[in-house]
Assembly symmetry: C2
Homo-oligomer: 339 residues x 2
């Protein structure tokens, strides 16, 4: 238990920051808002004074403009190894504008998502960034009427009230499947998620891409899905069934590295040679895929770039933009030993 022996300096205000930096209060405000037309020199000067005086815009600015300089980020779950790179990009872009992210985990359940979003609104966060939400488009539109919103991992290119930033999942899947077809495989199967969940349309787009490639190759009759239950990082028997099936395919495209890493490991444990007897391509290019002992080919979504673009879009919405923006990022195939 420590006695308060140090004297607390008076709390910094936007005025003391302006005085310290030798600029106007309006100039400091511009830097804080990350407004257009701020020179690098001005930004540097003001940032130095902010750090020196330990100024906290989050509190002080509230009185001034009603902002909390905080953005609510809703994540579907923490185990998806695609998330850290997205969040890196989000935090980097928000940090430059003196914004912070506070995150909630929806556990892929619409009810929990709803409750977290309500809390974020109640806490007067300045905007919402939703990653792979399970809420329907209608629900999303309703939230977007309450505050600025950008959605990642949910395809809705005609949404009028919010922005979307996504990997071009359909194109990515087609590129991956074509890489397997080029190697002479005909029975290319896909491991995907349940058919009934329409809200999560990212892997639906990947299914379209798989179909596109198979149909274009004249292999429409060889299309076959193996559907996992929606239990993240919890093996559910689907992959064991595939490996033990008399119809085991020579090549499999997986909706996510989560499935592909399980597949390549269980194949090895059964003595199945990868890629000779089983070629595999995953999705997300997670750190695990890149390990030399795993060597999994995978689609890189460029998660950091998606996070940066989404955060920048949210900041410009907070600044007043209302015309919707829908961005698709071109993914890139990373080939390793598994193909």
């Amino acid at each position: 238990m420590s006695k308060s022996g140090t004297t607390t300096p008076a709390r910094a205000t936007i005025r003391t920051v302006a005085a310290d930096a030798g600029v106007s209060v309006a100039a400091v405000s511009k830097v804080l808002r990350n407004a257009y037309g701020v020179s690098d020199g001005l930004r540097d000067k003001v940032q130095k004074s902010i750090e020196k005086l330990d100024y906290r815009p989050s509190t002080a600015a509230r009185g001034m403009r009603g902002r909390t300089y905080t953005v609510g980020v809703l994540l579907v779950e923490l185990r998806n190894p695609f998330l850290p790179s997205v969040i890196d990009g989000v935090q980097r872009t928000l940090g430059k504008a003196n914004y912070k992210a506070l995150m909630g985990v929806g556990e892929a359940r619409a009810k929990i998502e709803q409750s977290l979003i309500d809390s974020m609104v109640d806490m007067r966060m300045d905007g919402l960034l939703l990653v792979a939400p399970r809420l329907s488009g209608d629900r999303l539109a309703r939230h977007a009427q309450r505050l600025p919103m950008v959605v990642i991992g949910h395809h809705e290119p005609t949404a009028a009230l919010f922005d979307t930033v996504n990997s071009d999942d359909r194109r990515g899947a087609r590129i991956a499947v074509e890489a397997l077809l080029t190697r002479g495989h005909k029975d290319v199967h896909m491991i995907s998620m349940p058919e009934e969940n329409a809200a999560q349309n990212v892997y639906r787009e990947r299914e379209y891409g798989y179909r596109d490639a198979m149909v274009a190759a004249g292999l429409a009759d060889r299309i076959r899905f193996w559907r996992q239950k929606e239990r993240f990082a919890q093996p559910d028997g689907t992959i064991d069934a595939l490996l033990e099936s008399p119809d085991r395919p020579p090549a499999v495209f997986c909706w996510s590295d989560i499935a592909a890493v399980e597949l390549i490991n269980k194949a090895a444990a059964r003595g199945i040679n990868v890629p000779e007897d089983l070629a595999i391509i995953g999705y997300d290019d997670t750190p695990t895929a890149a390990l030399p002992l795993i060597g999994l080919s995978s689609m890189d979504q460029h998660g950091t770039q998606i996070g940066e673009l989404a955060a920048a879009a949210l900041l410009s919405r907070i600044e007043g933009r209302t015309v919707p923006e829908h961005r698709l990022i071109e993914p890139g195939l990373i080939l390793r030993r598994s193909t």
Copy 2:
């Protein structure tokens, strides 16, 4: 753009919940607070009415008791694969008491941590749960004077103002190193983190445990540390240097699976046989360690249990407990192919 065609039902209150469940308002309040002496029958009844009426205690209760039913969780970084199991435990325990977690990522920088904690306090969160904070004990004590606080991954067994829940890191490290010594290895080295960072004392405890085991075996003169730079998930050359050293040891204990997974993969890439020429034990028993293609021995910290205990401690602090509690959880060694 959808017109609001549906009529909004009147918002549920604690009174309508009580009426629906056929119990008193005080009884609903008890369930919401997760108070002692609530029967399972009462809890079930009230929970059903809450779900049916879509009642949101976060808003409604604020007027009643000044609570937001929200807890701020500060994470050191998102890439540490130990975190998801801790957060699972936290969310499960908070959810039962109708609390939610909102998380910030401190990026292992005290300044960002400070700013996130300030936001959590400003937003009137009911308590703080810090995971492996970089702030010093004094700073932590100051925050604990502002609101109920529990810390995970920071050893401070005499802290008077907050609780701690930790793995017994010293004992875990000793058990791991003894397992390597039992196999006849004498030059057991340890990969750890930088020496100067005193705030993060989890791996310091693991260093003590390593020393304990070496000294007890009469091998004090064989103690040797390889210290990584503090760059999460960013290889920094330390492990390459170890593998290429003429003094390459036959056995290595790693402060974390983050290091051990890099070590086992780089050893394989160099054609070094594990465990014959290099035995490895990691820490955290991450999902990657358990993959058949990795087969890494590792200490299981029981992260879910740590998360559950920490959340329960925070809830009881929010309910008014002030006597500090400091818990150490016994870790367990999981042996796989790498030893």
